[in-house]
Structure formats: C-alpha cells, structure tokens
Amino acid sequence: MSDFARQQGEFQRGILTGDDTILTEILDSPKEKRETLFGVYRYAYGSRLVEAVRNDHELLHLYLGDEMFDEMGHAYVKARPSEHPNLRWFSQGLPEFLKSAEPYSNYPALSDLAALEKALNDAFDAAEGPVLALEAMAGFAPAVWNDLIFQPHPSARRLGLKTNASAIWMALKNEETPPDAEVLEEPARLLIWRQDVTPMFRELPTEEAMMWDEAANGIPFGVLCEMLATYDDPDAAAARGAGYLHGWITSGSLTGVSAGD
C-alpha cells in the first residue's frame, strides 16, 4: 500500500470513528489547532449526511421533531456509511434501518412512514415511459380483450404497510395533527406512481391489489377476471376488472398494453 493510500485510510478513519492518529500528520494553522481544523471535516460529515436524510424524509422529520430526527439520523449515518457516490441514494436504507434497529424498531409506523416517503421519492425520479391513454384501448376488438396484457408505468410500485403510516403521512402533509400510530389488522396495500412530474399514492382494495400484482406479472385480462371472480360476486367480476383497469389508465399508472402472444 502506498503512503498516500495509507494516509487516506487514516484520514477517513479519523472522520468515521473519531480516531486521532491522523492528527500526527496534520499541521496546526497560524491561528488554530489541528484538532479543531480536522473537526471541521468530522462535523461536516455527520451534518451533511443527516441533512440528506432530512431532505428525503421531510414528513418523518416533522413527525419526530428536530431533536429526535437528528439523533435518529446520526444513528443511521453511523450504522450505514454511504457506499454510493451520489448522495441521492444515501437514505435508501432508512426504512430497513428503522425496522431493525432499536429503539426505532419498537415503533413500526416510523419504518412504514420512511418506506412511503422513499417510494414517493423513487417514483419522483424514476425512469420515463409512455402513458397508456384510454383511446388506445378502443383499438382492440372485444374478442381479444381476454388476451390483453398490461405493462405498469416505470414509476409505478407497490408497497405494503403494517401500520396506519399513510394516514399519518396524509395528516402531516396537510399540516394536521397525525392520528395515533397503530398496527392494522390487515396490511394496507398501496400503489405509488408518478403522474406527470408528481408522485402519487392510493390504497388499493384487496382484490384490486391482487389484480394489479398479477397484471404486472403478465397475466392476461381474461384470467385476471377469473381470479377476481374468486374474491367477490363472480357475475360482476369482469365489470369490476374493467373498472379497476379504467382507474389505472386514467391515473397514468400504465405504460402499455398488448394483445399477448
């Protein structure tokens, strides 16, 4: 290892762990001691990364307040040093951290709230794709509808939440007092996508969530309707399927449709 490489390793260790070995290779300035000057880098490291997490999680910040958020942010920075050159991706691991690290893991709504904000952030700058228009559906004869396969927009993603984090998110967004956090009897099934440039989410009924997931897996419309028939009134299954599909198209959640093989 070159001396340059060794020195960089020591410098980084001094920032990440507080080890002072590197100070023997640093000069005092005419007006300040080296400990203080090196401390500029130590302080900037933590504060910059916590700020990045704060920018990505505005509502979690609002929910926790400055002090608790900063404490949580520094714990995250310590537990998960950045491994990506772009700061945009630093907070990607926050939901998982909050789910697994005490004391945050004792409050599952925190991880869910972070997961919802992460999904919205990811939808915001997700890849571009065409938006399927209702008019495109008119080109398919009734005989081929059973074979239609739908392609989700690249920004669309599904998220399951065990808690009422979406209600907390909505209240915080509207500057209202959030409801008490609670674990739901049945997980909430969310669809997140980008409409033009704005990330959106909504909660899906159980059978619509099933239909979305299976449609995204490439299951054709006719089979989707058969599957819907097992959830509720079989005679109305096709109408319900068409209704869900209409909603996906008008909200801009789909990017394409094809008549199968």
């Binding site: 340059f4 000069l27 300035s29 300040e32 090196f38 880098y41």
Partner: protein, 300 residues
C-alpha cells in the same frame, strides 16, 4: 500471430504524462449555478444569464422532473457540468459505474465542459460526500495525473478541475497547492476551474497570501471562475456557500481578472438559497467588474 505484441501498452512508463491536447473551452460570459428553487422562474422568465452550471449528480437519475427541466434549460442556455463525486485523488479504484453515468449525462447535456474537484471523497468502499484534502507530494501528483488521464480517456474529453477549500495541511507536503495544480494541468492536459472564494478561504486558513496562489497558476489553463460566500469562524473560515460573496473575495476577483483575463465566471450558492433576483445582482456585479477591469476585452 503474436497476440502480446498487439496489446496496448499499459505499463506505467507508457501511460506517464500524456497531456490531452484539447482546444481551450470558449468564454461563456457570466453565469449562475442552477438550483431547483429557481426552475420555474427561469423557465417562465428566461432571465438574462449567459450560462448555467449544473451539479452533475443531481441529474444522474433515471428520469422525472429534474432531467426534464435540465433538457429545457439546455435548449435555452449554454450549460457546463460540475460534479462532486469524481473523487479524482482517491487511492481506491475508480468507480466506473459512476464514470459511465457521467458520460451518459454528458452525452445528453452536451456541456461546454465537465468539471469536478481536486480532492477525494472516500476509500475502502465508503463515500464521505465531502471534498477531502490531499498532501501535495510527488507521489500524490503522479497518482492524480494518472487518474486524470484515465478519466479523460474514458470520457473522451479533457476535464476541468477546481481547487477546493481546505481546513488542514499535511506535514509531508513537498510543494504548494498552486505548484501541484500547475504541474497537474501541464502533465495531464486538464483545464482549471479557479474558485476565487476557495483560494481566499484556504489562504486565510493556512496563513499564506492569496495573491501568491493566484500568481502561481498558469494563466492559460484557467477556463472558469467560481465566486461564492463563506462562514468566518474567527480563527478559520468554512466554505459554506450560504452567504453572498464578501468584499475581500470581490477584491480578489479583480486581481484574478488582471492576471487571467476574461474567464467564464459564475455565482455558486448551495445553501440558504435566496430569490433569483438577489443572485442576479451578484451575477451582474461579476459582469460589471469585468467590464471595468478589462474594458473592450469581453466581446468575441
């Protein structure tokens, strides 16, 4: 067939000192760092700004509003790309995925040039997201020259490197920062982004004359000036980019114009971002001072 004889020579000797020969980038006038807070105002008002500098990493994304906005800005203004994560002086292996992303963005933006900083941001797989200082040694110089050459070969263009604000100096340095920059530019062919505020900050922090720095930089290698604000802590200055440009830095700008002639100049504000009008006043001041210091020399 002797395959070995057909292989490119990647020995250190063969790769040493191959300064990339490239035409000096054009003079763009007086610009501003593009920030998301000003997107709407810029797109709706077409403010009189000669060019924009964009932070490369803010647009190294799959899609969405940032990239769509950047495309529209590029249709109306000359743009240069300025990165913060190249980590050109790191002793870790280069991140080729990052470099490919940078190259892809440059293909989309068609910037007048691509710049980053003479610094490193991490080793051992970690990224500290800071512009970290280096010792000014022959060993470091050899290393950075070889990295600049590699990056320039990969990107297919000469890059521009900026002097950073530093808070510490290493006891094993063998030359000054300006000697290092001058040699780096001569040996690799990279151009220089002269950050006037950073010179002021580092000169104060380390107790040298900023004019010595200024006079030590080869005038023909400088293609851009940065002007920015900082936070004075009494015994040292921190390069926060969250204040207006201070009077001492304006004075140094005058000296830089006298030494380097006309150079594409911009106001760089990264935090505590004011309304666009306020920054336009600073952009106009860079122009007015240049017109006064270099009368008749700004036009093509």
């Amino acid at each position: 067939m002797n395959v070995a004889s057909r292989l490119p020579d990647s020995s250190a000797a063969a790769l040493a000192d191959r300064p990339m020969q490239s035409a000096k980038p054009p003079f763009l006038g007086f610009g501003l760092g593009l920030r998301a807070q000003h997107y709407d105002e810029i797109l709706s008002g077409n403010p009189p700004i000669d060019w924009f500098e964009v932070i490369s990493e803010n647009y190294m994304l799959p899609g969405g509003q940032p990239l769509r906005t950047l495309d529209r800005i590029c249709e109306r203004y000359p743009v240069v790309m300025h990165g913060v994560s190249l980590s050109i002086a790191s002793t870790a292996p280069p991140n080729f995925e990052y470099l490919q992303g940078l190259k892809d963005l440059a293909r989309r933006v068609e910037p007048k040039w691509v710049s980053d900083h003479l610094c490193w941001t991490g080793v051992h797989g970690k990224n500290l997201h800071d512009l970290l200082p280096i010792p000014y040694t022959e060993e470091a110089l050899d290393h950075v020259v070889s990295r600049v050459q590699l990056v320039q070969d990969f990107l297919g263009r000469a890059i521009v490197l900026e002097n950073v604000s530093t808070y510490v100096q290493f006891n094993n340095s063998e030359m000054t920062e300006w000697e290092f920059l001058a040699e780096l530019s001569r040996r690799s062919g990279c151009w220089l982004l002269f950050d006037i505020n950073n010179v002021y900050v580092s000169a104060f922090n380390h107790g040298y004359d900023p004019l010595a720095f200024l006079n030590g930089i080869p005038a023909d290698r400088v293609v851009q000036f940065h002007m920015a604000g900082h936070s004075h802590m009494g015994t040292h200055i921190i390069d926060t980019h969250d204040h207006p440009v201070c009077e001492d830095v304006w004075d140094l700008y005058v000296a830089a114009l006298k030494r380097f002639g006309r150079v594409s100049t911009m106001i760089e504000r990264d935090d505590n971002i004011p309304p666009l009008d306020e920054l336009l006043l600073e952009v106009n001041r860079t122009r007015e001072i240049a017109e006064k210091v270099l009368p008749g020399k700004l036009a093509e």
